[in-house]
Structures are given as structure tokens and as C-alpha cells.
């Protein structure tokens, strides 16, 4: 049996009825990594020995009837900006190429407490800034569906690892679409939870008011299970929310009956790849057939979401990345005085996209421009959030595209603005802190995955997951088979 091709739920069933061990499963994934990753480039670090050791302990626990959770022994891959104690945490940057995390991120502690081995750390755009993983300073990651195409980004390594069966599931981070866009390009389910639902402690900060840890999985039920494990309050992340975590798995079979689904018309929906547009229309019909009430709404301000996002995100990034000065960790390039050391370290350690964003953010925050750029963007952000909250009084979820098109080729977007525009459908959820899920629904004429996005009101992951499960049925009916 090819264990590595199975979704996490199936692995869990097999391990539970005793037909396989965690060691079998971890070995199967490590074999697949050895066979595939030279070509795909998903991992920056593979933790083979530690994963096998953790699997051995899991098997011992199971034999002795003291498993830690339902997922004891099921491994996972982690994006290389989420800390795993003692393991390199490069963020895809020369700046942190030699940095080893001194502690576990809260989410990693939760995985370990559940008995889950960590397979390794996955490639990403440098400091999560990018939409194709082309901005990784350390390696190239290829799309498993077509190696001439990018895997999406910034969590491109996590997406490619799961899509090429080098991990059953993976964690990513989503600041403006960095889980959902690679999920779309690689044919996976990608979940960005509500801001504050999952602790960010141990996630290297990019834009603190937008960053959220998310999941890349083969199925909606795998995503629901992983979210269930990770959601909750963490007293060491003051932005994580003290709020009860509902049962996510129990809503998956609830169907669409009575669900109010909103569609957004207008200019923002123009320029969609025809197959995505068609899938969107068919999905709306399917939901209606299943008893959902479809409503059309306009939200013209969303046309300003990209502009708002790139000002807020770069301003926060310029402040967060000020910490890389060559003093306490990371790269140091010596200079005759501290000022020269700072400048040399930062100029050599950061790649071109990171520098561009630091520059844009610094400019937007500088005296004379703060009001016109940063403050203005924060005000429009308020209006976007209020607009969403108003909409969610009328609908339970919004259905729309995740990306305008399927995966693009390497070097196809040399202009920074063009790259930024790929995030047009994903940044609104980050600006408003909303949960959003990408669900794959089929392949385009070129054999590349396409899919759709479900967005819900803050902390209504249950509505989003319930709808995503219906979309999964829709996808199966259209012949989608991962």
C-alpha cells in the first residue's frame, strides 16, 4: 500500500485498527522525499532521524495503550518561518540561514503534544514576501502538477510537499493569501483561520496585524482536524483570542440547506480565467440545488484592497524587520562601527523583494507621508472591515475565486506590481481578519488545478468548513480526484 498517497484521516484509521505503525507511515514519507524532492524542492530541512524517533515513541505508546491523541503518529511538514526547537528556521533568507529556533512555536508544541512527528521545514518566499516562492533566497520549489510552473507562495514549499505526497499535510502562514494561493496552484485545501484563532507565537513576524498560521491539506476534513488541534488561546500571544473552540468536524456533513451564500459582482470579478468563472457559476447553482439561498451583492471598495494591503503590510514589515541588525541572531557582516555593521548586514542579508517592501513601508511611515499613505490605508481598512461585517448580516458565507488564474510559469511576473496583483482575491480576508478556505474543484485545459474560495465572518470557521465540504462534493461530481 502506498501510505504516502493517503489523506491524514485514512492514515489515522489504518494506524488505529493496527494495520500500520507510525514508523511505517513516516518511512513511507521519507522514502517519497528521497525519491521526489530533488526534483520538487519542497523542503529546506528534512528531519528524518527526529521524525523516525518520534514515530518509534508513538508506536510504543500505542502498544501500551497510552496514545496522546487521535493523530498520534501522523506526521506533518512545517513552513520554515514556524519555529521547531533546535531546527533551522531560515524564513527562506540568507539573513537566517544559520539560525536555529531556541523554542517551539505554540502550534508546534500542540502537534508534539498530540504525538505528531515533524518531517521537516518547507521552502518559502523570503520572510513570506511573495506569491510564487521564487523569492526564496535558498532554493527553487516546483509545482508538482507541472514543473515549469511555480507552486504559488509564500507557503509554496508546504503546498508542493503535500501535493507531491512528501507530507500528508502541512502548516503555512497567510498574511495576504500565502496559504490559499499555493493551495490553489497545487490543488489542495488551504485554510486561513480568523485572526487570533490560532496562536502566532513562534511564527516569525512579517505583518503582525495580518499574519495567521494556516493549514494545507488534501481534504476539508483533514483541514478541519488540523484546525481543531491548533485553535485556541495562548497566553503568550496577546492577540490570540480567549474564545471557545467549536467542533469543526461535526459541521462537515451539515449540507447547504438554509445556508445564505453571497456572490460579489462588479469589476473585481473581471479578468477571471474562463474555467474559474465557469466553476464559480456552476458551484453557485450546485449550492442552490442543495438548498442554499444565493444572494448577489456589490462591494466596490474591494477594488482598493490590494492598495490598502500593500501599504499596511509593508509598513508593518519595515518595523518588524528592523530587528535584523546583526547583533543578537542571524547574519552579521562586520563594519568599522555599528552603523556600518547594520547597513552591511541588512544590505547583504536581505533579497530584492524584502528590500523593496522595507523601503515602501519605511517611506509610507516617514514624516510627511504617514498621513497620505499609512493612515489613509488604515482608514480604508476600517471601511473594508465594516463593509464585510455588514455583508455578513445578510449572508453566512461569500463564494468567490481564490486566484484569477491557475499557476503561472517561472519568471512570468518580473514586475513587482504584477506579482502583487495575484493577491487581489486573497488580501481582503487578511485586512478584515476573516476566516477563508480554498477548495480545489477541478483542472483547467492545461491540466492545472483550479478552485474557489469561501469566506466567512470572524470566528465562523464552522460556516466556512460546512460550505467547503459541500464544494468538495461539487468538485467530486465534476470529476475532481486528487
Amino acid at each position: 500500500m502506498k501510505l504516502h498517497t493517503l489523506e491524514a484521516w485514512s492514515l489515522r484509521d489504518l494506524i488505529r485498527d493496527g494495520s500500520v505503525t507510525s514508523t511505517d507511515i513516516v518511512e513511507s514519507f521519507l522514502d517519497q522525499i528521497r525519491a521526489r524532492d530533488a526534483e520538487i524542492g519542497a523542503y529546506i530541512t528534512v528531519c528524518g532521524e527526529q521524525a523516525l524517533e518520534a514515530a518509534k515513541h508513538s508506536d510504543e505508546r500505542r502498544r501500551e495503550g497510552r496514545t496522546l491523541s487521535d493523530w498520534d503518529g501522523i506526521p506533518a511538514a512545517i513552513k520554515d518561518n514556524i519555529s521547531v526547537k533546535g531546527v533551522a528556521n531560515t524564513c527562506g533568507s540568507h539573513m537566517l540561514a544559520q539560525y536555529h529556533a531556541p523554542y517551539d512555536a505554540h502550534v508546534v508544541s500542540l502537534l508534539k503534544q498530540a504525538g505528531m512527528p515533524i518531517l521537516g521545514k518547507t521552502n518559502m518566499d523570503e520572510f513570506a514576501m511573495g506569491s510564487s516562492t521564487e523569492f526564496s533566497a535558498l532554493k527553487t520549489t516546483r509545482n508538482p502538477w507541472d514543473r515549469q510552473k511555480v507552486p504559488g507562495g509564500s507557503s509554496g514549499g508546504s503546498a508542493a510537499a503535500v501535493a507531491s505526497h512528501q507530507a500528508p499535510w502541512a502548516l503555512g502562514s497567510d498574511t495576504g493569501g500565502s496559504v490559499r494561493e499555493p493551495a490553489a496552484f497545487c490543488g489542495l485545501v488551504g485554510i486561513k483561520p480568523t485572526y487570533g484563532r490560532v496562536s502566532r507565537r513562534g511564527l516569525v513576524a512579517f505583518a503582525s496585524s495580518l499574519d495567521q498560521i494556516g493549514m494545507l491539506t488534501h481534504s476539508v476534513r483533514d483541514g478541519a482536524a488540523l484546525l481543531q488541534l491548533l485553535a485556541g488561546h495562548d497566553e503568550l500571544d496577546s492577540t490570540s483570542v480567549r474564545r471557545e473552540v467549536p467542533s469543526y468536524e461535526s459541521v462537515l456533513g451539515a449540507g447547504a440547506s438554509g445556508l445564505r451564500v453571497g456572490l460579489l459582482g462588479g469589476a473585481s470579478q473581471q479578468g477571471l480565467q474562463p474555467e474559474i468563472h465557469e466553476a464559480l457559476e456552476q458551484a453557485a447553482c450546485f449550492l442552490a440545488d442543495q438548498g442554499a439561498e444565493i444572494q448577489e451583492h456589490a462591494f466596490p471598495l474591494l477594488d482598493k484592497a490590494i492598495e490598502t494591503y500593500y501599504l499596511v503590510a509593508t509598513a508593518e514589515a519595515s518595523s518588524n524587520l528592523a530587528r535584523y541588525d546583526g547583533v543578537r541572531y542571524g547574519l552579521r557582516v562586520e563594519g568599522s562601527d555599528t552603523g556600518e555593521m547594520f547597513r552591511r548586514t541588512r544590505s547583504e542579508g536581505f533579497g530584492p523583494e524584502v528590500k523593496r517592501r522595507i523601503m515602501l513601508g519605511t517611506y509610507a511611515l516617514s514624516a510627511g507621508y504617514y498621513e497620505a499613505y499609512y493612515r489613509k490605508a488604515q482608514q480604508v481598512r476600517t471601511m473594508i472591515r465594516d463593509g464585510f461585517l455588514e455583508l455578513f448580516e445578510k449572508v453566512d458565507v461569500l463564494l468567490g475565486p481564490t486566484t484569477a488564474a491557475s499557476a503561472f510559469g517561472f519568471g512570468e511576473k518580473p514586475d513587482p506590481l504584477q506579482m502583487y496583483l495575484t493577491d487581489i482575491y486573497t488580501v481582503p480576508a487578511n485586512l478584515a481578519g476573516l476566516p477563508a478556505i480554498h477548495v480545489p474543484v477541478g483542472l483547467d485545459h492545461g491540466g492545472l488545478p483550479i478552485g474557489l474560495q469561501i469566506t466567512a465572518s470572524p470566528f465562523a470557521e464552522t460556516n466556512a468548513l460546512r460550505s467547503a465540504a459541500v464544494l468538495e462534493t461539487f468538485a467530486r461530481n465534476r470529476g475532481w480526484n486528487r
Binding site: Y195, T338, R343, Q379, T382, Y420
Partner: protein, 96 residues
């Protein structure tokens, strides 16, 4: 339109040194990005309060109690130049 001098000034604020070639390229790129984002000026925000965080935050209090954390050695283990658990940096003051 952002000038080359403004780009140089911004680089200095961000502790970045740009080569002439980088400066040239960065000026053009920032100009086109700023041109694109300036469409925000069309939105009337006269009565709008700016959002810092998407989810309303409360001040978080806790008891001031000692808890186990990273040891001193663990905390400085990633330092590029560590002497007796201090970070060594280039001289910042002239010798007498």
C-alpha cells in the same frame, strides 16, 4: 513622484545601502507602486477611524510571577559574536 534623493533618504532610515544600480531600479519601482496605491486618495475617509488590528484587542494583564523560560545560554546561542553570554559589537565610542 518619488525622487532619487527621497529613495536615498528612505534607504538611510531603513539602514540599507543601495548601489547606484539598485537605487536607479528602486526609484522606478517605488514610483510605479506609489502611483498605483495613490488611488486610495479617491476614497472619502473623512469620518473614519483607522484600524490597527482586525480583531478588537484588550489589554492583557497577568500576575508578575517567575516562570521557567529560556536559559541565558539558550537565549544568546544564535548570536553571531557572543562572549560570556554578552553580544559583542563594534566599538560605539572613541577611546579616551
Amino acid at each position: 513622484m518619488i525622487s532619487r534623493e527621497e529613495v536615498e533618504r528612505t534607504a538611510a532610515l531603513a539602514h540599507l545601502t543601495l548601489t547606484d544600480q539598485e537605487l536607479e531600479k528602486m526609484t522606478g519601482e517605488l514610483a510605479s507602486i506609489l502611483d498605483a496605491v495613490s488611488s486610495l486618495q479617491e476614497v472619502d475617509t473623512s469620518a473614519v477611524v483607522p484600524t490597527n488590528h482586525a480583531v478588537p484587542l484588550e489589554n492583557v494583564m497577568r500576575r508578575d510571577e517567575q516562570k521557567p523560560g529560556l536559559s541565558r545560554d539558550e537565549a544568546v546561542a544564535n548570536g553571531p559574536d557572543v562572549v560570556q553570554s554578552f553580544f559583542r559589537v563594534p566599538r560605539i565610542m572613541e577611546e579616551e
